[in-house]
């Protein structure tokens, strides 16, 4: 669509869009990366979600930007996962889908052995998240890691709030069990 053909958002709405971009872009990409295990595809999805929001700015109230973006991103992710599954069925030698996404470099450690240990722990945590079934993983990523409310997560996942609560509870249990030796009480 030509931009001239598309109504320009008013300054307040545009300012809200900029705020959303600043506040949610990283979270959206992180969510998509952990769902897809593919940071490059996740960046594209985050961008497509913002592009979609821009086109629908006049329809989406500002206070709904965040769940709207996550819902769109989640739909794109599920779409990709479905296509991947289909491709995997066609090409069984495609192994890339099972390779874990590299953990971003954590620069908080000066000593190499500390950094190596921290990295090992992070790989374990990431593996524990990836081992969760998709429906549990979604609830876990949205509520536990992105801090969304149960109501927003329910809107994103298209399910009742109670279901979000149950999935989150199951996800937490499994995640805790998977990391049993890292948890010291």
């Amino acid at each position: 669509m030509n931009p001239s053909a598309q109504a320009q958002p008013d300054p307040l709405t545009l300012a809200a869009f900029h705020r959303a971009l600043a506040e949610h872009a990283d979270g959206l990409k992180t969510f998509a990366t952990r769902l897809l295990r593919d940071a490059m595809a996740a960046e594209d999805i985050a961008q497509d979600a913002f592009l979609a929001l821009y086109r629908h700015l006049h329809e989406v109230p500002e206070n709904a930007f965040r769940p709207w973006l996550y819902r769109v991103a989640r739909n794109f992710c599920l779409d990709q996962l479905r296509r991947r599954k289909f491709k995997l069925r066609l090409f069984r030698d495609v192994a890339r889908e099972d390779e874990p996404e590299p953990v971003p470099v954590d620069t908080r450690h000066d000593r190499p052995e500390d950094a190596a240990h921290a990295r090992e722990v992070q790989v374990r945590i990431q593996a524990a998240i990836e081992a969760l079934p998709v429906r549990f993983r979604e609830a876990f990523l949205l509520c536990e890691m992105q801090g969304l409310s149960y109501e927003d997560a329910a809107a994103i996942l298209n399910c009742p709030v109670k279901t979000v609560s149950t999935r989150l509870f199951r996800a937490r249990q499994r995640f805790k069990e998977a990391l049993g030796d890292l948890i010291r009480v």
Binding site: A15, D26, Q47, L51, Y54, P104, A155, V161, V185
Partner: protein, 315 residues
């Protein structure tokens, strides 16, 4: 209840999602049950581990690429299932759309040349007509909008802040042996200030006669909130904190006006613009931006018809 039955409550409690009664029961159970307390600590640690994972920030060129795509007029990709927004969100959006549509209908009704015999006399009485299009709609009453929004915000802030304080102080019951009183007071200070500011706002509005109708027992409730805030701030022992918590538990703050009534004859564009300006300038805006909007029907009965919209402040 058995320990197994408390497990899902532990998860909900982590997110502050338990109703006060169940939370109290859970806290009482935790005070006696070492196994459940251990599970709670494990869940907290697991959460810390999950949160320790670094984020995947977008690349440096993310914004530029996005704007280039927008400016080039690139069509957004097909959005799967975007039209079927579910559950609460769907209801909210429906209500928002319906409220806007109702307002447009009313505005359209007003801008239409007067008919000799109005079919809906109660609306005709409430909304004086203007014949020519483009005239200012009568009864906009915009001067009342901001005070009313302020009242809704302050009340929501007071209610939410008080609940949040209640919930934080309830933790004292569990951690009473390991509590660092000064650190806790320091941690709670921003919350105390926020609630205090909302109490001051409500008092000022009452004095200035800006709050109509006046909620019942407003002064008594605000006094208890105020007193409890002082008790928390000045507490020298855990017992004093617990006394403050009990005070807050007893308070009846629900009658405070969380609701803002906006007359239907207000032009929807003006309304949303003014409201947004108001909230954008409010330093506490994030707490109040989540609004639920619903159509209010004519309280006098008769033909169901929107007479205005209602905004609920708070989380």
């Amino acid at each position: 209840m058995t320990c197994t039955q408390y497990q899902s409550d532990l998860s909900n409690n982590l997110d502050g999602r338990l109703p006060a009664g169940r939370r109290s029961r859970l806290l009482a159970h935790l005070a006696e049950c070492a196994a459940c307390t251990r599970t709670m600590r494990e869940l907290e640690q697991a959460r810390d581990l999950a949160m320790s994972l670094p984020a995947h920030p977008v690349s440096a060129g993310f914004r530029d690429t996005l704007w280039a795509r927008i400016e080039s007029g690139e069509a957004a990709p097909e959005v799967p299932v975007i039209s079927s927004v579910p559950g609460l969100q769907r209801v909210r959006w429906f209500l928002l759309g319906a409220a806007a549509a109702a307002l447009l209908l009313v505005a359209g009704e007003l801008l239409r040349p007067p008919r000799p015999e109005p079919t809906t006399p109660e609306v005709a009485k409430a909304t004086p007509r203007e014949a020519a299009p483009g005239v200012t709609l009568a009864g906009i009453d915009a001067q009342r909008l901001e005070p009313a929004a302020l009242a809704a915000s302050a009340a929501a802030s007071c209610i939410d802040g008080t609940r949040s304080l209640q919930s934080r102080l309830a933790e004292v019951e569990v951690r009473k042996d390991s509590i660092d009183l000064r650190a806790l007071q320091h941690e709670l200070d921003p919350e105390l200030r926020r609630v205090r500011a909302s109490v001051n706002t409500l008092r000022w509005m009452k004095r200035a006669n800006l709050m109509q109708p006046l909620p019942p027992e407003l002064d008594a409730n605000l006094h208890v909130v105020e007193r409890s805030l002082e008790m928390v701030r000045e507490a020298r022992s855990v017992d004093e904190l617990r006394a403050a918590q009990r005070n807050l538990q007893d308070i009846r703050i629900e009658p405070l006006p969380r609701f803002l009534f906006v007359p239907a004859q207000l032009d929807p564009n003006t309304f949303f613009q003014r409201l947004q300006e108001f909230y954008v300038d409010d330093p506490d805006a994030p707490h109040f931006l989540r609004m639920q909007i619903q159509i209010v029907r004519d309280p006098a009965g008769g033909e169901p018809r929107a007479t205005g919209i209602l905004i609920r402040g708070g989380r």
